[in-house]
């Protein structure tokens, strides 16, 4: 059976094709202004590269912030379920997932291979952690991809305490004006994000059997700060950005049986 999974985020759209129980092919593209076109092109592109015609696809499932704007999808799946199902599909013994997305962050606890037990999503004030990092990279003149490695070199303790993104930005600006070394500020930013995620992990009571997914999972700085707080080694799947798209397709297939 061939299934398609789409994850339409604020910044990026991800498409995945599941064929005979394995990930056949995937692609990631900018969402831009028009979500529906972006999703359409992304899907057709990935089908073409796998030599599969649209008619062979049993079901197209969509998740992510823009899911309601994709008319051609057969099934809409919430971000929470798709994050959980994505991990269960690839790692059946896992019991939890930390999804560090561009638009918002969530922590989901579930029984191994079973239903969701509890979940938490970040509150309004800390929304947009991905957007926050974009803004910080502009203010400090550092590319987002380099922030992770840079923060690992930091030794000093700089506190970026505010939960609110707009407010944290003014804190970062004042640190920059005070000539604080960039690597310490970036580590402060990552610590503030990690401590917010740690709060959610605690409220849900996540066990060690969990994995970190989403765009920010590639940021080694955030992962290091989170490991420091949670006092465990965190596992990040090979391609953390497409897990939710996989989960959406997997949820569609289960529902199909």
């Amino acid at each position: 059976m061939i299934l398609a999974g789409l994850d339409v985020g604020a910044l990026w759209t991800k498409a995945v094709i599941l064929k005979d129980g394995a990930v056949a092919v995937y692609s990631v593209a900018r969402t831009g202004d028009m979500a529906e076109e972006a999703a359409e092109q992304c899907l057709n592109g990935v089908l073409a590269s796998a030599g599969i015609s649209r008619s062979d696809v049993a079901a197209v499932a969509v998740t992510g912030v823009g899911k309601k704007l994709i008319p051609f999808a057969d099934k809409q799946v919430s971000e929470i379920v798709s994050a959980a199902k994505g991990i269960q599909y690839l790692y059946p013994d896992m019991e939890g997932v930390i999804d560090l997305g561009g638009e918002s962050t969530r922590v989901v606890k579930f029984e191994a291979g079973g239903g969701i037990v509890d979940y938490a999503q970040n509150d309004k004030c800390a929304a947009g952690t991905g957007m926050f990092l974009d803004a910080m990279s502009k203010v400090m003149g550092i590319k987002v991809e380099d922030m992770g490695a840079l923060s690992l070199q930091s030794t000093a303790e700089v506190n970026i305490t505010s939960m609110c993104v707009a407010f944290a930005e003014s804190e970062v600006v004042s640190q920059v004006h005070r000539q604080t070394p960039k690597k310490d500020i970036v580590r402060g930013i990552h610590k503030s994000i990690a401590s917010r995620v740690y709060g959610m992990v605690n409220s849900v009571g996540l066990s060690e059997k969990n994995m970190v997914i989403g765009g920010l999972a590639l940021n080694v700085g955030i992962i290091a700060c989170l490991e420091e707080l949670m006092k465990i080694k965190l596992a990040v799947p090979e391609n953390p950005r497409i897990i939710s798209a996989i989960g959406a397709a997997f949820a569609a297939s289960q529902q199909g049986e």
Partner: protein
């Protein structure tokens, strides 16, 4: 419901009443507002007070009164929260202060009011404030005093930290405050006839017994009453007096519900999930409570009592000992601001209403409820295994309200509950 009312309701951002008696209740409200206006014309001093003040005393002394926080709720329900909050903020009141009370303060500081509020709001001559249940409630009436320079009296209700039973010295202290309130009213031209007070307290006991009966029918599966109707029903004891037929209205409500329950009629054709809504109901978008119905999920009970005050336990009310018994009932009410009382109430509500999932919303500017949400969530899960979701929802000040996020949160929670129920069945 006649066509004219239907059009009016359609135009307003509130859902149309579902049960027939609800419309009569709303007519009762209008009568109350006009009675207060009439009393003011006759030169009777009008009292501005809070729903948690003992209204039996006000009724017994024939005092016309206006409830500040109920009108504040209507400001948000009718979609004027942005206007009146801005008026309060122009006074310098911070946006971090309770949104419901910013609506209340804004309404009292401005004279160009919409027709409904010109009718419902009467300039007060006296203010009776209370520190119950939260800091916002215990402060917002100070702006009314400051504006109209009225004499005032403040009721200091002790927090119920002893768990029940409430100790005697606390009951005596509150009963003595009620006596102080009576003296304050007497100094301003009103007299108290003790028999009238006993009558009012007896009526209050009767009404609370009737409400308890209605609550039993409300627990039926499928849910017989829509969330908006239950809010109007909860406001009725406050706004419809004995003389205006409050007892009759509740008997009609009980019978209408009984008829629905006996015939298995629910507010939705196929009810699959029953939700409990903890926190202030979404006043600036009441239809949000009906939103989950598209998935077959109903809000079986929403905690409007935090706006209209919990109904008192009829067994604690004793007409022969009016002030003491009202004081004891008031301190023991679940709204009394420590969590133990609330936690026990919610755990019991999950069982009584056969709840599948608890929606626990965090209103960013609330100082009373956010601190207890985790405690309540854990207690419910430990006792009943029923999951709760906690998410941000600023649903009083329309300028902070985000319908899209609210729908997304409700969709996700319902989806997970369905999967859980599906797996179980």
């Amino acid at each position: 419901m006649n066509q004219q009312n239907h059009d009016r309701a359609e135009s307003l951002p509130i859902p149309a009443p579902d049960l027939k008696v609800i419309d009569q209740m709303q007519i009762g409200f209008v009568k109350r507002f006009t009675d207060v206006k009439q009393a003011k014309l006759e030169g009777k001093p009008v009292v501005y007070t809070t729903v948690l003040a003992p209204r039996e005393i006000l009724q017994a002394m024939g005092v016309p009164y206006v409830f500040g926080n109920v009108l504040g709720a209507y400001v948000s329900i009718f979609g004027y929260s942005a206007k009146y909050c801005q008026i309060a903020e122009d006074l310098g009141l911070s946006r971090e202060v309770c949104a419901a009370h910013r609506c209340t303060v804004g309404l009292s500081q401005h004279d160009e009011r919409e027709d409904f509020f010109n009718l419902a709001y009467t300039e007060p001559d006296l203010v009776i404030g209370s520190n119950f249940p939260c800091s916002a409630e215990s402060k917002s009436f100070l702006y009314v005093i400051d504006r109209y320079k009225t004499p005032s009296y403040i009721i200091d209700t002790p927090a119920n930290t002893w768990k029940c039973p409430v100790p005697e010295h606390a009951v005596t202290y509150l009963a003595r405050q009620y006596q102080g309130m009576i003296r304050f009213l007497e100094e301003n031209g009103y007299t108290l006839d003790m028999d009238k007070l006993r009558e009012e307290v007896a009526f209050s006991k009767r009404l609370n017994e009737l409400i308890a009966e209605v609550e039993v029918y409300r627990r039926a599966v499928p849910t017989p009453i829509k969330a908006y109707d239950s809010v109007i029903a909860a406001c009725t004891p406050l706004l419809v007096s004995k003389e205006s037929g409050a007892e009759l209205l509740f008997e009609k409500l009980r019978d209408e519900l009984k008829e629905r329950v006996d015939n298995g009629i629910g507010i939705v054709p196929n009810e699959r999930l029953r939700l409990l809504w903890i926190g202030i109901p979404p006043l600036c978008d009441f239809k949000l409570l009906n939103y989950p119905e598209k998935h077959g999920a109903v809000v079986a009970k929403s905690l409007v009592e935090f706006l209209t005050g919990f109904n008192l336990d009829p067994d604690l009310i004793d007409p022969d000992n009016p002030l003491e018994s009202l004081a004891r009932a008031s301190i023991s009410s679940p709204i009394n601001p420590t969590s133990q009382g609330m936690v026990d109430y919610f755990v019991q509500a999950v069982k009584d209403y056969r709840i599948d999932g608890v929606v626990s919303i965090t209103k960013r500017t609330c100082c009373l409820l956010p601190g207890s949400q985790r405690l309540i969530k854990d207690a419910i899960f430990k006792e009943t295994g029923v999951p709760s979701v906690i998410f941000d929802l600023d649903c009083i000040d329309a300028r902070d309200y985000d319908a899209a996020a609210a729908h997304a949160n409700l969709d996700s929670f319902v989806e997970i509950l369905m999967a859980k129920k599906g797996a179980a069945s």
